[in-house]
């Protein structure tokens, strides 16, 4: 399981690999959180806030981008850093879960959007799930 950040002109690219689809979504949320607040999702801060996300999509890649977009929007509105997922139910075209996090006063990075550009949720040669996501900063 890994979160890797790569350089991309004007933006940030994040590559995630995980053993299961559930873990892939969980790591992607954590990886995005660590961009919004550096190492913000590596802390043991009590996750006092939670929100439910329920989405349907044409495929699992769209689900991933839409899931992160909703979590990002909720972060701005609730002034909360979401780091973890609970009660996840996921299929190829739907996801229902609870995201949890903690209130924050400031952000290190203002992500404008989670983009679909070049994103594809798939399995790699090691049979792990992987996705590359570009954030518009």
């Amino acid at each position: 399981m890994a979160i890797e950040y790569k350089a991309h002109t004007a933006d940030v690219q994040m590559v995630i690999t995980a053993k299961s689809l559930e873990d892939l979504f969980m790591l992607a949320l954590k990886g995005m959180g660590n961009i919004i607040c550096e190492k913000g999702c590596d802390t043991t801060a009590e996750r006092t806030s939670s929100e439910t996300i329920h989405l349907e999509g044409t495929d699992v890649t769209n689900l991933m981008i839409d899931f992160l977009s909703d979590a990002l929007s909720l972060s701005y509105i609730r002034k909360t850093l979401f780091c973890a997922i609970r009660n996840i139910q996921i299929t190829e075209n739907s996801i229902k879960c609870e995201i949890s996090g903690y209130p924050i006063q400031k952000m290190d990075e203002e992500i404008k959007a989670v983009t679909y550009h070049g994103a594809r949720v798939c399995k790699n040669e090691k049979d792990e799930w992987t996705v590359s996501i570009i954030f518009d900063i």
Binding site: A7, A10, K79, K112, Y116, H117, A119, D136, I137
Partner: protein, 483 residues
């Protein structure tokens, strides 16, 4: 897909290059690059021209997909791109406008000269930092209730003027007079409205800023006179957009369009190019929401000008005189405009993503004082270098759908810039050159370091040599406030 090589381009004119539509079978039109050969060599390095080729596949696209000399790789459309599709059934694509709808710049001009600033830049920039909220997720002084939000989304900069946050005289000097009449607040989601409710009058982060500078050099004295620009004059440059509201409008609508595309039989090489026919329900919903977000952005820049005027007054008192708006222009927007195509006048949906409208003399929307000179085009350079004021020409309508560049153009990623740049040292180096930087973080300074950008001098020279705009004045910075 094969990467575009220099050998794939044909030179049409000194500053115009073309990738023929035979390059890839799915291209509907050629792809064109406006740039000097030197800049082209740089442009070829990233994948921006492959992205330009993808844009040439959009249904209804006319003549050619285009990029300006400040182009760089984006996430779908290249940044610095122009795409015109046929009205009313050609497509509209939120990706061709960008997430920061109506990101743009305005230039305010003062009656003071650089000599009169003396050693007051530090106190002015501290005053600006206090008056103009900047930085990550920072809220503003105004909190809009539902009725006020509807008013802002419908009336743009007019709302600020009507409510004491702007000046009536500014309105004629804003692109579209600061209001797009097709805006429909009901097409903006509740999530977007919530994100925008507390952000009016804020700069945000990234490459957004408020800069104090002075006119260093005049190149076109007659036009400069019409623009009220004089050598040594202090000026204010404001660069920001529609904040979280615009980001959410784009996010919402790209998602809707991806779901709707199969219904219209649209297949694209990149989901981020998502588009639907302009006259479809989804196309109209987006266009009306985009116009509303554009209105929010114009209102935002008007409120920031009001904050800037307060900072100016608090620093200089009555001796500072007034700050007048030269012009405010968008560089992330879609507009319905008319062009002659194959001898016929056609209405087009002109997408500009990181490209500035650059209409020439006689353009009816311009106030009388600017009409003969042509539309002012404001081109911010990188932090600590220089910026330019250009004047649009009527050639732009023939070559670039009335567009030109929007800045210097990024060449290094933010991450790469952070790795290379020692931000505290850069801040001191700029201070030694007489440029005072007030920023929320050293990270932000490193990311916007001059070496992360192309040479803006080369970019505007390319524009001038192509004929689409004339260089009127060069501006040098003395103080920058950024997020």
């Amino acid at each position: 897909m094969k990467k575009v090589q220099k050998s794939d381009l044909i030179r049409l004119e000194d500053y115009l290059w073309e990738i023929p539509s035979s390059f890839r079978p799915d291209m509907r039109v050629p792809a064109r690059v406006l740039a000097s050969e030197e800049l082209l060599d740089d442009i070829i390095d990233d994948r921006s021209l492959n992205q330009l080729v993808n844009v040439a596949t959009l249904p209804g696209i006319q003549v050619a997909s285009l990029v300006m000399p400040d182009v760089h790789e984006g996430y779908g459309f290249p940044i610095g791109g122009v795409a015109a599709t046929l009205y009313p059934d050609g497509v509209i694509s939120p990706g061709g406008i960008g997430y920061d709808i109506n990101c743009g710049v305005r230039l305010m001009i003062s009656a003071l000269k650089i000599e009169q600033l003396r050693n007051r830049m530090e106190s002015l920039s501290k005053e600006m930092y206090a008056q103009i909220p900047s930085g990550m997720g920072k809220g503003g002084f105004i909190h809009l209730d539902d009725a006020q939000m509807t008013d802002v989304l419908s009336n743009g900069a007019n709302w600020a003027v009507k409510n004491g946050y702007g000046e009536t005289g500014d309105l004629e000097s804003i692109e579209s007079h600061g209001r797009l009449e097709d805006a429909d607040p009901d097409m903006v989601s509740e999530m977007a409205k919530k994100r925008g409710s507390g952000q009016l009058g804020t700069i945000g982060s990234g490459n957004h800023f408020v800069e104090v500078g002075y006119v260093d050099e005049i190149f076109e004295p007659d036009i400069a006179r019409a623009y009220d620009l004089e050598k040594g004059q202090l000026v204010i440059l404001i660069h920001t957009g529609s904040r979280g509201l615009g980001h959410q409008v784009a996010t919402d609508n790209i998602r809707h369009m991806i779901a709707a595309m199969p219904k219209y039989g649209i297949e694209l090489p990149d989901r981020e190019l998502a588009c639907v026919p302009f006259n479809s329900v989804e196309g109209q919903n987006y266009f009306k929401a985009m116009c509303a977000a554009a209105n929010y952005a114009w209102c935002n820049r008007e409120v920031i000008s009001w904050e800037m005027r307060k900072a100016w007054k608090n620093t200089f008192g009555d001796a500072g005189g007034s700050l007048n708006l030269l012009y405010d222009v968008a560089h992330n927007i879609a507009k319905i405009e008319e062009y002659e195509i194959d001898g016929r006048n056609r209405k087009l949906i002109v997408h500009r993503k990181g490209a500035t409208r650059a209409f020439g003399p006689g353009f009816k929307e311009l106030p009388p004082r600017l009409s003969e000179a042509g539309q002012p085009v404001i081109i911010p350079g990188s932090m600590g270098t220089c910026s330019y004021v250009l004047a649009g020409t009527n050639i732009s309508k023939k070559i670039t759908f009335g567009s030109c560049c929007h800045g210097a153009g990024r060449r290094l990623s933010r991450r790469a810039a952070r790795r290379i740049v020692n931000a505290p040292a850069l801040k001191e180096e700029l201070a030694d050159k007489g440029i005072f930087v007030q920023a929320g973080s050293f990270k932000g300074i490193a990311e916007e370091a001059p070496l992360a950008y192309k040479d803006v001098n080369m970019v505007v020279r390319s524009i001038q040599d192509s004929g689409v705009a004339k260089i009127v004045a060069k501006l040098k910075p003395v103080g920058v406030v950024k997020g």
